[in-house]
Symmetry: C2
Subunit: 299 residues, 2 copies
Amino acid sequence: MDIAVNWQETEQHLTELRQLVNERLDRLTDLPEGCPDRLKSAMRYSLLAPGKRFRPLLVLLAAEACGADPEEAIAPACAIEMIHCYSLIHDDLPAMDDDDLRRGQPTCHRQFDEATAILAGDALLTLAFEVLAKHVEPPDRAIRCCRVLAEAAGPCHLVGGQADDIQAPTLAPSLELLESIHRRKTGALIECALSLGAIIGDAGPEVLNGLQEYGRAIGLAFQITDDLLDLLGDEKLVGKRLQKDKKQNKLTFPAMLGVDRSREKIERLIEAACRALEPLPIERRHLVALALNLKSRTH
Amino acid sequence: MDIAVNWQETEQHLTELRQLVNERLDRLTDLPEGCPDRLKSAMRYSLLAPGKRFRPLLVLLAAEACGADPEEAIAPACAIEMIHCYSLIHDDLPAMDDDDLRRGQPTCHRQFDEATAILAGDALLTLAFEVLAKHVEPPDRAIRCCRVLAEAAGPCHLVGGQADDIQAPTLAPSLELLESIHRRKTGALIECALSLGAIIGDAGPEVLNGLQEYGRAIGLAFQITDDLLDLLGDEKLVGKRLQKDKKQNKLTFPAMLGVDRSREKIERLIEAACRALEPLPIERRHLVALALNLKSRTH
Protein backbone atom coordinates (compact mmCIF):
# COMPACT_ATOMS: atom_id res chain seq x y z
CA MET A 1 0.00 0.00 0.00
CA ASP A 2 1.53 3.28 -1.06
CA ILE A 3 -0.87 5.50 0.90
CA ALA A 4 -1.39 6.16 4.58
CA VAL A 5 -4.83 5.08 5.76
CA ASN A 6 -6.31 6.40 8.96
CA TRP A 7 -9.54 4.61 9.89
CA GLN A 8 -10.45 7.12 12.63
CA GLU A 9 -10.32 9.97 10.16
CA THR A 10 -12.38 8.03 7.60
CA GLU A 11 -14.87 6.96 10.25
CA GLN A 12 -15.35 10.59 11.28
CA HIS A 13 -15.90 11.59 7.66
CA LEU A 14 -18.37 8.73 7.13
CA THR A 15 -20.35 9.84 10.19
CA GLU A 16 -20.72 13.32 8.71
CA LEU A 17 -21.72 11.96 5.31
CA ARG A 18 -24.19 9.53 6.91
CA GLN A 19 -25.83 12.45 8.66
CA LEU A 20 -26.14 14.29 5.36
CA VAL A 21 -27.78 11.21 3.81
CA ASN A 22 -30.19 10.79 6.73
CA GLU A 23 -31.23 14.44 6.64
CA ARG A 24 -31.84 14.34 2.91
CA LEU A 25 -33.77 11.04 3.03
CA ASP A 26 -35.97 12.64 5.66
CA ARG A 27 -36.62 15.68 3.49
CA LEU A 28 -37.20 13.70 0.27
CA THR A 29 -39.87 11.56 1.93
CA ASP A 30 -41.69 14.50 3.50
CA LEU A 31 -44.28 13.96 0.78
CA PRO A 32 -47.07 16.41 -0.07
CA GLU A 33 -50.81 15.81 0.12
CA GLY A 34 -51.87 13.00 -2.16
CA CYS A 35 -49.65 10.49 -0.38
CA PRO A 36 -51.80 8.72 2.24
CA ASP A 37 -50.47 9.05 5.81
CA ARG A 38 -50.18 5.32 6.38
CA LEU A 39 -48.19 4.83 3.17
CA LYS A 40 -45.87 7.71 4.01
CA SER A 41 -45.38 6.39 7.54
CA ALA A 42 -44.48 2.94 6.23
CA MET A 43 -42.00 4.35 3.69
CA ARG A 44 -40.33 6.50 6.33
CA TYR A 45 -40.42 3.77 8.99
CA SER A 46 -38.30 1.50 6.81
CA LEU A 47 -36.16 4.11 5.06
CA LEU A 48 -35.24 6.21 8.07
CA ALA A 49 -34.55 3.28 10.41
CA PRO A 50 -30.91 3.24 11.45
CA GLY A 51 -28.98 1.69 8.58
CA LYS A 52 -25.33 1.57 7.65
CA ARG A 53 -26.05 3.61 4.48
CA PHE A 54 -23.29 1.59 2.83
CA ARG A 55 -24.46 2.21 -0.75
CA PRO A 56 -25.08 5.98 -0.44
CA LEU A 57 -21.72 6.40 1.31
CA LEU A 58 -20.05 4.68 -1.63
CA VAL A 59 -21.76 7.10 -4.03
CA LEU A 60 -20.54 10.07 -2.02
CA LEU A 61 -17.00 8.73 -1.52
CA ALA A 62 -16.63 7.90 -5.22
CA ALA A 63 -17.88 11.34 -6.23
CA GLU A 64 -15.52 13.00 -3.73
CA ALA A 65 -12.62 10.84 -4.92
CA CYS A 66 -13.25 12.30 -8.40
CA GLY A 67 -13.25 15.83 -7.05
CA ALA A 68 -17.01 16.47 -6.74
CA ASP A 69 -18.74 17.96 -3.74
CA PRO A 70 -20.92 15.52 -1.69
CA GLU A 71 -23.88 17.89 -2.19
CA GLU A 72 -23.74 17.20 -5.96
CA ALA A 73 -23.97 13.46 -5.32
CA ILE A 74 -26.59 13.45 -2.57
CA ALA A 75 -29.57 12.82 -4.89
CA PRO A 76 -28.16 9.61 -6.41
CA ALA A 77 -26.96 8.61 -2.92
CA CYS A 78 -30.53 8.89 -1.62
CA ALA A 79 -31.99 7.22 -4.70
CA ILE A 80 -29.82 4.12 -4.28
CA GLU A 81 -30.75 3.84 -0.59
CA MET A 82 -34.43 3.98 -1.58
CA ILE A 83 -33.86 1.12 -4.02
CA HIS A 84 -31.99 -0.88 -1.40
CA CYS A 85 -34.71 -0.23 1.19
CA TYR A 86 -37.53 -1.22 -1.19
CA SER A 87 -35.73 -4.47 -1.96
CA LEU A 88 -35.44 -5.25 1.77
CA ILE A 89 -39.15 -4.53 2.36
CA HIS A 90 -40.19 -6.85 -0.46
CA ASP A 91 -37.61 -9.53 0.40
CA ASP A 92 -38.93 -9.64 3.96
CA LEU A 93 -42.54 -10.32 2.86
CA PRO A 94 -44.19 -13.60 3.92
CA ALA A 95 -44.22 -14.83 0.30
CA MET A 96 -40.46 -14.21 0.07
CA ASP A 97 -38.02 -14.64 3.00
CA ASP A 98 -40.74 -14.12 5.63
CA ASP A 99 -38.65 -12.10 8.09
CA ASP A 100 -39.96 -10.36 11.20
CA LEU A 101 -36.93 -8.26 12.18
CA ARG A 102 -34.93 -5.74 10.14
CA ARG A 103 -32.59 -2.95 11.22
CA GLY A 104 -33.44 -3.78 14.82
CA GLN A 105 -37.21 -3.27 14.46
CA PRO A 106 -40.21 -5.25 13.20
CA THR A 107 -40.22 -5.59 9.40
CA CYS A 108 -42.53 -3.26 7.46
CA HIS A 109 -45.33 -5.80 6.92
CA ARG A 110 -45.21 -6.72 10.64
CA GLN A 111 -45.38 -3.11 11.77
CA PHE A 112 -48.06 -2.14 9.20
CA ASP A 113 -49.61 -4.84 7.03
CA GLU A 114 -48.71 -6.78 3.92
CA ALA A 115 -50.55 -4.55 1.43
CA THR A 116 -48.96 -1.43 2.89
CA ALA A 117 -45.51 -3.03 2.79
CA ILE A 118 -45.89 -4.00 -0.87
CA LEU A 119 -47.03 -0.46 -1.72
CA ALA A 120 -44.32 1.21 0.39
CA GLY A 121 -41.73 -0.81 -1.53
CA ASP A 122 -43.30 0.13 -4.87
CA ALA A 123 -43.40 3.78 -3.81
CA LEU A 124 -39.73 3.89 -2.75
CA LEU A 125 -38.65 2.20 -5.98
CA THR A 126 -40.56 4.78 -8.03
CA LEU A 127 -39.47 7.72 -5.88
CA ALA A 128 -35.81 6.82 -6.50
CA PHE A 129 -36.23 7.65 -10.19
CA GLU A 130 -38.22 10.79 -9.46
CA VAL A 131 -35.37 11.99 -7.22
CA LEU A 132 -32.80 11.39 -9.96
CA ALA A 133 -34.95 13.09 -12.60
CA LYS A 134 -35.68 16.10 -10.39
CA HIS A 135 -32.42 16.68 -8.56
CA VAL A 136 -29.52 15.68 -10.82
CA GLU A 137 -28.22 18.25 -13.29
CA PRO A 138 -27.53 18.51 -16.19
CA PRO A 139 -29.98 16.21 -18.03
CA ASP A 140 -27.35 13.98 -19.66
CA ARG A 141 -25.82 13.22 -16.26
CA ALA A 142 -29.28 12.59 -14.79
CA ILE A 143 -30.23 10.19 -17.55
CA ARG A 144 -26.95 8.26 -17.19
CA CYS A 145 -27.74 7.90 -13.48
CA CYS A 146 -31.27 6.65 -14.29
CA ARG A 147 -29.87 4.15 -16.72
CA VAL A 148 -27.22 2.59 -14.48
CA LEU A 149 -29.60 2.49 -11.51
CA ALA A 150 -32.45 0.94 -13.51
CA GLU A 151 -30.11 -1.69 -14.96
CA ALA A 152 -28.62 -2.59 -11.58
CA ALA A 153 -32.05 -2.78 -9.92
CA GLY A 154 -33.74 -4.58 -12.80
CA PRO A 155 -34.62 -8.15 -13.86
CA CYS A 156 -31.07 -9.08 -14.93
CA HIS A 157 -29.48 -7.93 -11.67
CA LEU A 158 -31.14 -7.11 -8.31
CA VAL A 159 -34.58 -8.61 -9.02
CA GLY A 160 -33.13 -11.54 -10.97
CA GLY A 161 -30.67 -12.32 -8.18
CA GLN A 162 -33.47 -12.33 -5.62
CA ALA A 163 -35.59 -14.58 -7.86
CA ASP A 164 -32.73 -17.08 -8.15
CA ASP A 165 -31.97 -16.80 -4.43
CA ILE A 166 -35.54 -17.93 -3.67
CA GLN A 167 -35.24 -20.79 -6.16
CA ALA A 168 -31.69 -21.73 -5.04
CA PRO A 169 -32.67 -24.40 -2.45
CA THR A 170 -34.25 -26.35 -5.34
CA LEU A 171 -31.23 -25.98 -7.66
CA ALA A 172 -27.94 -27.91 -7.74
CA PRO A 173 -25.59 -26.05 -5.38
CA SER A 174 -22.38 -24.74 -6.92
CA LEU A 175 -19.94 -21.95 -6.22
CA GLU A 176 -20.71 -20.61 -9.67
CA LEU A 177 -24.45 -20.31 -8.94
CA LEU A 178 -23.74 -18.78 -5.54
CA GLU A 179 -21.42 -16.14 -6.98
CA SER A 180 -23.87 -15.42 -9.78
CA ILE A 181 -26.70 -14.83 -7.29
CA HIS A 182 -24.59 -12.58 -5.07
CA ARG A 183 -23.15 -10.68 -8.01
CA ARG A 184 -26.68 -9.79 -9.08
CA LYS A 185 -28.51 -9.58 -5.74
CA THR A 186 -25.94 -7.52 -3.81
CA GLY A 187 -23.01 -6.85 -6.09
CA ALA A 188 -24.81 -5.03 -8.90
CA LEU A 189 -26.20 -2.31 -6.65
CA ILE A 190 -22.87 -1.81 -4.87
CA GLU A 191 -21.05 -1.55 -8.20
CA CYS A 192 -23.79 0.86 -9.31
CA ALA A 193 -23.07 3.08 -6.29
CA LEU A 194 -19.51 3.52 -7.56
CA SER A 195 -20.76 4.19 -11.10
CA LEU A 196 -23.16 6.85 -9.82
CA GLY A 197 -20.37 8.59 -7.92
CA ALA A 198 -18.12 8.40 -10.99
CA ILE A 199 -20.85 9.87 -13.23
CA ILE A 200 -21.39 12.77 -10.82
CA GLY A 201 -17.60 13.27 -10.64
CA ASP A 202 -17.37 13.33 -14.46
CA ALA A 203 -14.89 10.44 -14.38
CA GLY A 204 -13.36 9.22 -17.63
CA PRO A 205 -13.55 5.55 -18.70
CA GLU A 206 -10.36 4.50 -16.86
CA VAL A 207 -11.54 5.85 -13.50
CA LEU A 208 -15.08 4.56 -14.07
CA ASN A 209 -13.77 1.05 -14.83
CA GLY A 210 -11.40 1.09 -11.86
CA LEU A 211 -14.13 2.20 -9.47
CA GLN A 212 -16.48 -0.45 -10.85
CA GLU A 213 -13.81 -3.12 -10.36
CA TYR A 214 -13.38 -1.92 -6.77
CA GLY A 215 -17.19 -2.07 -6.40
CA ARG A 216 -17.41 -5.64 -7.69
CA ALA A 217 -14.70 -6.80 -5.29
CA ILE A 218 -16.05 -5.11 -2.16
CA GLY A 219 -19.60 -6.06 -3.17
CA LEU A 220 -18.75 -9.73 -3.04
CA ALA A 221 -16.64 -9.26 0.11
CA PHE A 222 -19.59 -7.47 1.73
CA GLN A 223 -21.91 -10.34 0.89
CA ILE A 224 -19.54 -12.99 2.25
CA THR A 225 -19.26 -11.04 5.52
CA ASP A 226 -23.08 -10.97 5.47
CA ASP A 227 -23.17 -14.75 5.18
CA LEU A 228 -20.62 -15.04 8.02
CA LEU A 229 -22.61 -12.63 10.20
CA ASP A 230 -25.74 -14.71 9.63
CA LEU A 231 -23.82 -17.74 10.91
CA LEU A 232 -21.65 -16.22 13.64
CA GLY A 233 -22.94 -12.68 14.33
CA ASP A 234 -24.73 -11.07 17.25
CA GLU A 235 -28.45 -10.58 16.50
CA LYS A 236 -28.57 -7.35 18.55
CA LEU A 237 -25.74 -5.78 16.56
CA VAL A 238 -26.87 -7.06 13.17
CA GLY A 239 -30.49 -6.03 13.78
CA LYS A 240 -32.10 -8.95 11.93
CA ARG A 241 -32.79 -12.62 12.65
CA LEU A 242 -29.67 -14.73 12.22
CA GLN A 243 -28.96 -18.35 11.31
CA LYS A 244 -31.88 -18.15 8.91
CA ASP A 245 -29.78 -19.16 5.90
CA LYS A 246 -29.17 -22.58 7.43
CA LYS A 247 -32.82 -23.07 8.38
CA GLN A 248 -33.95 -22.04 4.91
CA ASN A 249 -31.25 -24.19 3.32
CA LYS A 250 -29.83 -21.14 1.54
CA LEU A 251 -26.75 -21.33 -0.59
CA THR A 252 -24.01 -19.39 1.29
CA PHE A 253 -20.22 -19.04 1.20
CA PRO A 254 -19.60 -20.57 4.66
CA ALA A 255 -21.82 -23.49 3.65
CA MET A 256 -19.91 -24.00 0.39
CA LEU A 257 -16.34 -23.15 1.47
CA GLY A 258 -16.33 -23.29 5.27
CA VAL A 259 -15.64 -20.33 7.56
CA ASP A 260 -11.85 -20.18 7.14
CA ARG A 261 -11.81 -20.26 3.36
CA SER A 262 -14.64 -17.70 3.32
CA ARG A 263 -12.49 -15.37 5.43
CA GLU A 264 -9.52 -15.91 3.10
CA LYS A 265 -11.74 -15.07 0.16
CA ILE A 266 -12.77 -11.80 1.85
CA GLU A 267 -9.07 -10.92 2.35
CA ARG A 268 -8.28 -11.57 -1.29
CA LEU A 269 -11.26 -9.53 -2.48
CA ILE A 270 -10.30 -6.56 -0.30
CA GLU A 271 -6.77 -6.68 -1.69
CA ALA A 272 -8.16 -6.78 -5.22
CA ALA A 273 -10.42 -3.83 -4.44
CA CYS A 274 -7.54 -1.70 -3.19
CA ARG A 275 -5.36 -2.74 -6.13
CA ALA A 276 -8.05 -1.63 -8.60
CA LEU A 277 -7.81 1.92 -7.25
CA GLU A 278 -4.01 2.15 -7.17
CA PRO A 279 -3.36 3.33 -10.75
CA LEU A 280 -6.22 5.84 -10.75
CA PRO A 281 -5.64 9.62 -10.62
CA ILE A 282 -8.16 10.06 -7.77
CA GLU A 283 -8.11 10.75 -4.02
CA ARG A 284 -8.67 7.15 -2.90
CA ARG A 285 -7.84 7.32 0.83
CA HIS A 286 -11.36 6.88 2.24
CA LEU A 287 -12.34 4.20 -0.27
CA VAL A 288 -9.26 2.16 0.70
CA ALA A 289 -9.96 2.61 4.41
CA LEU A 290 -13.57 1.54 3.92
CA ALA A 291 -12.53 -1.62 2.08
CA LEU A 292 -9.92 -2.56 4.69
CA ASN A 293 -12.48 -2.03 7.45
CA LEU A 294 -14.88 -4.60 5.93
CA LYS A 295 -12.84 -7.36 7.59
CA SER A 296 -13.94 -6.21 11.02
CA ARG A 297 -17.61 -5.73 10.08
CA THR A 298 -19.95 -6.68 12.95
CA HIS A 299 -23.30 -5.44 11.56
CA MET B 1 -67.85 19.63 -33.15
CA ASP B 2 -66.02 21.34 -36.00
CA ILE B 3 -64.20 18.25 -37.27
CA ALA B 4 -65.35 15.11 -39.04
CA VAL B 5 -64.71 12.02 -36.98
CA ASN B 6 -64.63 8.59 -38.54
CA TRP B 7 -64.44 5.81 -35.95
CA GLN B 8 -63.69 3.09 -38.52
CA GLU B 9 -60.65 4.99 -39.72
CA THR B 10 -59.46 5.64 -36.15
CA GLU B 11 -60.07 2.02 -35.19
CA GLN B 12 -57.97 0.84 -38.12
CA HIS B 13 -55.18 3.20 -37.09
CA LEU B 14 -55.38 2.05 -33.46
CA THR B 15 -55.10 -1.58 -34.58
CA GLU B 16 -51.86 -0.78 -36.42
CA LEU B 17 -50.47 1.17 -33.46
CA ARG B 18 -51.47 -1.60 -31.04
CA GLN B 19 -49.52 -4.06 -33.14
CA LEU B 20 -46.48 -1.80 -33.02
CA VAL B 21 -46.78 -1.64 -29.22
CA ASN B 22 -47.17 -5.40 -28.89
CA GLU B 23 -44.15 -6.10 -31.10
CA ARG B 24 -41.99 -3.67 -29.16
CA LEU B 25 -43.12 -4.94 -25.74
CA ASP B 26 -42.17 -8.42 -26.93
CA ARG B 27 -38.71 -7.27 -28.01
CA LEU B 28 -38.04 -5.17 -24.88
CA THR B 29 -38.78 -8.12 -22.59
CA ASP B 30 -36.63 -10.56 -24.56
CA LEU B 31 -34.16 -10.18 -21.70
CA PRO B 32 -30.57 -11.42 -21.80
CA GLU B 33 -28.92 -13.99 -19.54
CA GLY B 34 -29.01 -12.89 -15.93
CA CYS B 35 -32.80 -12.75 -15.89
CA PRO B 36 -34.07 -16.08 -14.56
CA ASP B 37 -36.40 -17.93 -16.96
CA ARG B 38 -39.30 -18.09 -14.52
CA LEU B 39 -39.13 -14.35 -13.80
CA LYS B 40 -38.96 -13.53 -17.51
CA SER B 41 -41.90 -15.85 -18.22
CA ALA B 42 -44.00 -14.20 -15.52
CA MET B 43 -43.18 -10.70 -16.79
CA ARG B 44 -44.06 -11.64 -20.36
CA TYR B 45 -47.13 -13.66 -19.34
CA SER B 46 -48.71 -10.57 -17.80
CA LEU B 47 -47.33 -7.90 -20.12
CA LEU B 48 -47.98 -9.63 -23.45
CA ALA B 49 -51.47 -10.88 -22.53
CA PRO B 50 -54.10 -9.29 -24.78
CA GLY B 51 -54.73 -5.81 -23.39
CA LYS B 52 -56.43 -2.72 -24.76
CA ARG B 53 -53.07 -0.85 -24.62
CA PHE B 54 -55.11 2.24 -23.80
CA ARG B 55 -52.23 4.17 -22.19
CA PRO B 56 -49.58 3.44 -24.85
CA LEU B 57 -52.07 4.31 -27.59
CA LEU B 58 -52.67 7.68 -25.92
CA VAL B 59 -48.90 8.32 -25.89
CA LEU B 60 -48.67 7.52 -29.59
CA LEU B 61 -51.79 9.50 -30.57
CA ALA B 62 -50.68 12.55 -28.59
CA ALA B 63 -47.20 12.42 -30.15
CA GLU B 64 -48.71 12.03 -33.62
CA ALA B 65 -51.15 14.88 -32.97
CA CYS B 66 -48.09 17.07 -32.31
CA GLY B 67 -46.47 15.95 -35.54
CA ALA B 68 -44.08 13.27 -34.25
CA ASP B 69 -43.67 9.83 -35.76
CA PRO B 70 -45.05 6.91 -33.68
CA GLU B 71 -41.59 5.33 -33.76
CA GLU B 72 -40.20 8.27 -31.74
CA ALA B 73 -42.84 7.70 -29.05
CA ILE B 74 -42.76 3.92 -28.87
CA ALA B 75 -40.31 3.73 -25.92
CA PRO B 76 -42.45 5.88 -23.56
CA ALA B 77 -45.53 4.05 -24.86
CA CYS B 78 -44.01 0.72 -23.82
CA ALA B 79 -42.71 2.14 -20.53
CA ILE B 80 -46.17 3.30 -19.46
CA GLU B 81 -47.69 -0.07 -20.33
CA MET B 82 -45.02 -1.74 -18.15
CA ILE B 83 -45.98 0.54 -15.25
CA HIS B 84 -49.68 -0.19 -15.79
CA CYS B 85 -49.02 -3.93 -15.96
CA TYR B 86 -46.86 -3.96 -12.81
CA SER B 87 -49.63 -2.13 -10.93
CA LEU B 88 -52.19 -4.74 -12.05
CA ILE B 89 -49.93 -7.62 -10.96
CA HIS B 90 -49.42 -6.13 -7.50
CA ASP B 91 -53.08 -5.03 -7.13
CA ASP B 92 -54.20 -8.60 -7.87
CA LEU B 93 -52.04 -10.11 -5.07
CA PRO B 94 -53.78 -11.92 -2.19
CA ALA B 95 -52.76 -9.17 0.25
CA MET B 96 -54.35 -6.55 -2.02
CA ASP B 97 -57.49 -7.17 -4.15
CA ASP B 98 -56.94 -10.94 -4.27
CA ASP B 99 -58.02 -11.49 -7.87
CA ASP B 100 -57.75 -14.72 -9.83
CA LEU B 101 -58.59 -13.53 -13.35
CA ARG B 102 -57.04 -10.74 -15.43
CA ARG B 103 -57.08 -10.08 -19.16
CA GLY B 104 -58.96 -13.35 -19.57
CA GLN B 105 -56.31 -15.53 -17.92
CA PRO B 106 -55.26 -16.51 -14.38
CA THR B 107 -53.56 -13.63 -12.55
CA CYS B 108 -49.75 -13.72 -12.33
CA HIS B 109 -49.57 -15.10 -8.77
CA ARG B 110 -52.12 -17.82 -9.68
CA GLN B 111 -50.24 -18.86 -12.80
CA PHE B 112 -46.81 -18.70 -11.11
CA ASP B 113 -46.59 -18.00 -7.37
CA GLU B 114 -46.79 -15.01 -5.08
CA ALA B 115 -43.04 -14.37 -4.80
CA THR B 116 -42.62 -14.51 -8.57
CA ALA B 117 -45.57 -12.14 -9.06
CA ILE B 118 -44.14 -9.60 -6.62
CA LEU B 119 -40.76 -9.78 -8.36
CA ALA B 120 -42.27 -9.65 -11.87
CA GLY B 121 -44.06 -6.45 -10.86
CA ASP B 122 -40.88 -4.98 -9.39
CA ALA B 123 -38.97 -5.92 -12.54
CA LEU B 124 -41.51 -4.33 -14.92
CA LEU B 125 -41.58 -1.14 -12.85
CA THR B 126 -37.79 -0.89 -12.98
CA LEU B 127 -37.57 -1.87 -16.65
CA ALA B 128 -39.91 1.01 -17.55
CA PHE B 129 -37.27 3.51 -16.44
CA GLU B 130 -34.46 1.59 -18.12
CA VAL B 131 -36.43 1.72 -21.39
CA LEU B 132 -36.87 5.49 -21.11
CA ALA B 133 -33.22 6.06 -20.21
CA LYS B 134 -31.96 3.84 -23.03
CA HIS B 135 -34.33 4.57 -25.87
CA VAL B 136 -35.47 8.19 -25.65
CA GLU B 137 -33.30 10.86 -27.24
CA PRO B 138 -32.04 13.51 -26.57
CA PRO B 139 -31.24 13.35 -22.81
CA ASP B 140 -33.36 16.34 -21.78
CA ARG B 141 -36.42 14.79 -23.39
CA ALA B 142 -35.63 11.42 -21.78
CA ILE B 143 -35.27 12.93 -18.34
CA ARG B 144 -38.56 14.85 -18.69
CA CYS B 145 -40.23 11.54 -19.56
CA CYS B 146 -38.65 9.87 -16.49
CA ARG B 147 -39.84 12.68 -14.29
CA VAL B 148 -43.49 12.74 -15.37
CA LEU B 149 -43.71 8.95 -15.35
CA ALA B 150 -42.12 8.64 -11.89
CA GLU B 151 -44.41 11.31 -10.48
CA ALA B 152 -47.55 9.75 -11.97
CA ALA B 153 -46.58 6.27 -10.78
CA GLY B 154 -45.35 7.38 -7.34
CA PRO B 155 -46.65 7.67 -3.77
CA CYS B 156 -48.73 10.82 -4.42
CA HIS B 157 -50.51 9.36 -7.44
CA LEU B 158 -50.73 5.74 -8.61
CA VAL B 159 -49.41 4.05 -5.46
CA GLY B 160 -51.16 6.53 -3.15
CA GLY B 161 -54.46 6.03 -4.96
CA GLN B 162 -54.20 2.27 -4.60
CA ALA B 163 -53.32 2.62 -0.89
CA ASP B 164 -56.44 4.78 -0.33
CA ASP B 165 -58.56 2.45 -2.48
CA ILE B 166 -57.66 -0.43 -0.15
CA GLN B 167 -58.45 1.70 2.91
CA ALA B 168 -61.64 3.18 1.36
CA PRO B 169 -64.14 0.65 2.78
CA THR B 170 -63.08 1.82 6.26
CA LEU B 171 -63.36 5.55 5.42
CA ALA B 172 -66.43 7.80 5.26
CA PRO B 173 -67.74 7.52 1.68
CA SER B 174 -67.91 10.76 -0.29
CA LEU B 175 -67.83 11.78 -3.92
CA GLU B 176 -64.75 13.83 -3.11
CA LEU B 177 -62.82 10.83 -1.75
CA LEU B 178 -63.94 8.70 -4.69
CA GLU B 179 -62.79 11.26 -7.26
CA SER B 180 -59.52 11.77 -5.40
CA ILE B 181 -58.81 8.01 -5.44
CA HIS B 182 -59.64 7.67 -9.13
CA ARG B 183 -57.72 10.79 -10.10
CA ARG B 184 -54.61 9.27 -8.54
CA LYS B 185 -55.14 5.54 -9.15
CA THR B 186 -56.22 5.71 -12.81
CA GLY B 187 -56.27 9.36 -13.84
CA ALA B 188 -52.65 10.27 -13.16
CA LEU B 189 -51.22 7.59 -15.44
CA ILE B 190 -53.68 8.41 -18.23
CA GLU B 191 -52.84 12.12 -17.97
CA CYS B 192 -49.16 11.11 -17.95
CA ALA B 193 -49.66 9.25 -21.24
CA LEU B 194 -50.72 12.52 -22.85
CA SER B 195 -47.79 14.37 -21.26
CA LEU B 196 -45.34 11.78 -22.58
CA GLY B 197 -46.75 12.13 -26.10
CA ALA B 198 -46.58 15.92 -25.82
CA ILE B 199 -42.95 15.80 -24.63
CA ILE B 200 -41.98 13.56 -27.55
CA GLY B 201 -43.86 15.89 -29.90
CA ASP B 202 -42.03 18.94 -28.50
CA ALA B 203 -45.35 20.55 -27.59
CA GLY B 204 -45.39 24.04 -26.08
CA PRO B 205 -47.13 24.80 -22.77
CA GLU B 206 -50.54 25.51 -24.35
CA VAL B 207 -50.69 22.17 -26.17
CA LEU B 208 -49.25 20.32 -23.16
CA ASN B 209 -51.90 21.80 -20.86
CA GLY B 210 -54.71 21.13 -23.32
CA LEU B 211 -53.65 17.51 -23.77
CA GLN B 212 -53.36 17.07 -20.00
CA GLU B 213 -56.86 18.50 -19.53
CA TYR B 214 -58.13 16.04 -22.16
CA GLY B 215 -56.27 13.29 -20.27
CA ARG B 216 -57.82 14.18 -16.92
CA ALA B 217 -61.32 14.17 -18.41
CA ILE B 218 -61.04 10.89 -20.30
CA GLY B 219 -59.15 9.36 -17.37
CA LEU B 220 -62.10 9.89 -15.08
CA ALA B 221 -64.57 8.89 -17.81
CA PHE B 222 -62.56 5.69 -18.36
CA GLN B 223 -62.71 4.86 -14.65
CA ILE B 224 -66.46 5.44 -14.43
CA THR B 225 -66.99 3.14 -17.39
CA ASP B 226 -64.78 0.65 -15.50
CA ASP B 227 -67.07 0.90 -12.48
CA LEU B 228 -70.13 0.43 -14.72
CA LEU B 229 -68.53 -2.56 -16.45
CA ASP B 230 -67.85 -4.14 -13.06
CA LEU B 231 -71.56 -3.80 -12.28
CA LEU B 232 -73.17 -4.47 -15.67
CA GLY B 233 -70.46 -5.90 -17.97
CA ASP B 234 -69.89 -9.33 -19.50
CA GLU B 235 -67.09 -11.21 -17.68
CA LYS B 236 -65.95 -12.90 -20.90
CA LEU B 237 -65.50 -9.59 -22.70
CA VAL B 238 -63.98 -7.73 -19.75
CA GLY B 239 -61.57 -10.57 -18.95
CA LYS B 240 -61.65 -10.17 -15.16
CA ARG B 241 -64.03 -11.10 -12.34
CA LEU B 242 -66.95 -8.70 -12.13
CA GLN B 243 -69.26 -7.46 -9.39
CA LYS B 244 -66.27 -7.54 -7.05
CA ASP B 245 -66.61 -3.87 -6.10
CA LYS B 246 -69.99 -4.56 -4.46
CA LYS B 247 -68.71 -7.66 -2.63
CA GLN B 248 -65.65 -5.77 -1.39
CA ASN B 249 -67.77 -2.76 -0.49
CA LYS B 250 -65.67 -0.55 -2.77
CA LEU B 251 -66.46 3.07 -3.31
CA THR B 252 -67.67 3.41 -6.94
CA PHE B 253 -69.53 5.93 -9.08
CA PRO B 254 -72.62 3.78 -9.68
CA ALA B 255 -72.79 3.14 -5.92
CA MET B 256 -72.52 6.87 -5.14
CA LEU B 257 -74.53 8.37 -8.04
CA GLY B 258 -76.56 5.52 -9.51
CA VAL B 259 -76.17 4.17 -13.05
CA ASP B 260 -77.99 6.96 -14.92
CA ARG B 261 -76.14 9.84 -13.31
CA SER B 262 -72.85 7.97 -13.79
CA ARG B 263 -73.63 7.72 -17.52
CA GLU B 264 -74.45 11.44 -17.64
CA LYS B 265 -71.15 12.19 -15.95
CA ILE B 266 -69.30 10.17 -18.58
CA GLU B 267 -71.06 12.18 -21.33
CA ARG B 268 -70.08 15.46 -19.73
CA LEU B 269 -66.45 14.38 -19.27
CA ILE B 270 -66.16 13.28 -22.89
CA GLU B 271 -67.53 16.64 -24.03
CA ALA B 272 -65.02 18.41 -21.78
CA ALA B 273 -62.19 16.25 -23.17
CA CYS B 274 -63.09 17.15 -26.77
CA ARG B 275 -63.50 20.83 -25.87
CA ALA B 276 -60.02 20.92 -24.32
CA LEU B 277 -58.52 19.96 -27.68
CA GLU B 278 -60.54 22.38 -29.83
CA PRO B 279 -58.33 25.49 -29.57
CA LEU B 280 -55.07 23.55 -30.00
CA PRO B 281 -53.02 23.74 -33.21
CA ILE B 282 -52.75 19.95 -33.45
CA GLU B 283 -54.22 17.14 -35.54
CA ARG B 284 -56.82 15.99 -32.99
CA ARG B 285 -59.05 13.74 -35.10
CA HIS B 286 -58.06 10.39 -33.57
CA LEU B 287 -58.01 11.69 -30.00
CA VAL B 288 -61.55 13.01 -30.41
CA ALA B 289 -62.74 9.74 -31.94
CA LEU B 290 -61.16 7.76 -29.12
CA ALA B 291 -62.88 9.91 -26.49
CA LEU B 292 -66.28 9.66 -28.18
CA ASN B 293 -65.89 5.90 -28.43
CA LEU B 294 -65.46 5.54 -24.65
CA LYS B 295 -69.25 5.66 -24.28
CA SER B 296 -69.62 2.34 -26.05
CA ARG B 297 -66.78 0.62 -24.16
CA THR B 298 -67.54 -3.04 -23.47
CA HIS B 299 -64.15 -4.23 -22.13
